[in-house]
């Protein structure tokens, strides 16, 4: 009970739970519709989903400010690529939340004659840019770790046994250009990537979360159409991963 009280006291945590519930409704609604379930039930689930979406928009009313503060903090990072990716990502998120707030005002009837479709597209565009920058940041972190690992391996191989022709095992793998060797190198890089991600749970979680999230704006903007079931599954997965990072703060990728 204490753990729930501490968890639900954080507004972001509660919002993630409702996000998970919303995307569960999306997934459930699609699955039930496909399997020919009672239309009344499907309609109730869709109503619940719409209600959660509007409620979450209301609850997100102050998030632009949070994102701007986060962007202000990110400007002071020492690494220039990280600084760029994280700052611009937060700025895009701030713009996404601003559009989202305007959409809420339109749906709630506070602002009349609002072009909902235009503002919705706008908000998804900013959301997509933010996710692309997050993925770029993840790719950059992975490349640094792979480079560090390769340098570490080179140092440990400097004392390795030398073959009869005077080459080391490492230089052997770099020498030839055959197809077999290319596939070997790709496999080696893949194993290295898997090892790096296994040793870095925060990076892995952040990468998975961003990959799951990116399908949502890609679908809404018509760039990569899937179906509501897939969107629901991706949204649910990314919400669960997000809840994990809130429950276990050491799983959150820093900065």
């Amino acid at each position: 009970m204490d753990a729930w009280v501490r968890f639900s006291a954080q507004s972001q945590a509660k919002e993630r739970i409702f996000r998970a519930a919303q995307y569960t409704c999306t997934l459930l609604g699609y699955t039930l519709q496909k399997n020919g379930a009672n239309p009344d039930l499907v309609s109730k689930i869709k109503q619940l989903e719409a209600h959660m979406s509007l409620g979450r928009k209301l609850f997100r009313l102050g998030n632009s400010t949070d994102a701007l503060e986060a962007a202000k903090r990110a400007i002071h990072l020492s690494d220039s690529i990280l600084r760029f990716c994280i700052t611009v990502s937060h700025l895009n998120r701030a713009l996404y939340f601003a559009c989202d707030n305007i959409l809420w005002a339109g749906k709630a009837g506070v602002v009349s004659k609002l072009d909902q479709e235009k503002w919705s597209q706008r908000s998804f565009r900013y959301y997509l840019f933010a996710l692309i920058l997050n993925l770029s940041r993840d790719a950059y972190e992975i490349s640094i770790l792979m480079e560090r690992d390769a340098r570490g391996q080179k140092a440990s191989y400097s004392g390795s046994p030398v073959r009869e022709n005077g080459e080391t095992i490492l230089s052997c793998s770099r020498g030839s250009v055959g197809v077999g060797d290319l596939s070997l190198r790709i496999r080696a890089q893949l194993f290295l990537l898997i090892r790096i991600l296994r040793c870095n749970p925060p990076l892995l979680l952040d990468l998975l979360k961003n990959i799951c999230d990116i399908f949502i704006p890609l679908d809404k903007l018509g760039l990569y159409r899937t179906n509501p079931g897939f969107i629901g599954a991706c949204g649910l997965a990314s919400s669960v991963l997000s809840i994990l990072t809130i429950t276990y703060p050491w799983l959150k990728l820093k900065p």
Partner: protein, 246 residues
């Protein structure tokens, strides 16, 4: 900015901000209701208020568990009177949240079989009981604080001043009232969290009393009281030292 960020990072903080806006809309609607030129604005205020109310009901869905946690904590309090009052208050609040969740389910069409008016009145009754228990606890704490302060030097000085002015039959009644008020003033001054909690509960009480026809006022008074109690709630979140514990 920092205050806003601190407030918005907590669920309770966000809820209080939305409650402030909701009751501000109620108050504004009452003030503008006779102004025929502001029909469009009135409609927007109505939309904003109902949207805030429905949204807050959605986000209260987990609060029943928080109240149960409150009951568990209250059961461990050493003082038996405070324990009884707080446990009853938390239990009433839990029942209020259960009714509130059912009303939310009814409002979005998930459950259609419940009588909205009946459950709304039931929820208001439980809310009213929890506020009465909260206020009773405040009065009890205040009484204990006054009992402790009655031996205090400042109070003795004031009493001494009155005795030296000469006894008079008509003055004795006034003296007793003044003595009580001075004691109340000093006890409350030393305990700002208790004062804030009492005022918050008093303001909150007008809302269910109006709804249950115990003390009918108007939507303006309800809006003003709701706004005031929400602002006190925000103050206790921004300055945790002002929050009455437990």
């Amino acid at each position: 900015m920092e205050a806003f960020l601190k407030l918005s990072s907590q669920s309770r903080g966000r809820d209080r901000m939305l409650r402030t806006i909701q009751y501000a809309c109620t108050l504004l609607k009452y003030l503008l209701q006779n102004n025929s030129t502001q029909k469009e604005l009135l409609k927007k205020l109505q939309n904003l208020e109902s949207n805030m109310s429905t949204g807050r009901k959605l986000f209260r869905l987990g609060n029943m568990l928080d109240s149960i946690g409150g009951v568990q904590k209250a059961l461990q309090l050493p003082n038996p009177e405070v324990r009884l009052l707080l446990v009853t208050s938390c239990l009433s609040r839990t029942l209020y949240f259960i009714c509130d969740n059912l009303l939310w389910a009814r409002s979005i069409g998930v459950i259609n079989s419940i009588n909205k008016e009946k459950w709304s009145l039931l929820a208001t009754r439980f809310y009213f009981i929890s506020l009465i228990m909260g206020l009773s606890r405040d009065i009890y704490e205040l009484y204990q604080a006054m009992k402790q302060d009655v031996r205090g030097q400042q109070i003795q000085k004031k009493i001494g001043q009155h005795i030296s002015e000469g006894p008079d039959v008509a003055c004795i009644g006034v003296f007793r009232l003044e003595y009580f008020l001075i004691l109340l003033y000093y006890s409350v001054k030393k305990n700002p969290p208790l004062l804030l909690d009492s005022m918050k509960n008093v303001f909150d009480l007008f809302i269910p009393m109006d709804r249950l026809d115990i003390y009918k006022t108007n939507s303006g008074v309800v809006g003003l009281c709701g706004l005031a109690s929400s602002l006190f709630g925000i103050l206790t979140i921004l300055k945790p030292s002002l929050r009455l514990s437990p």
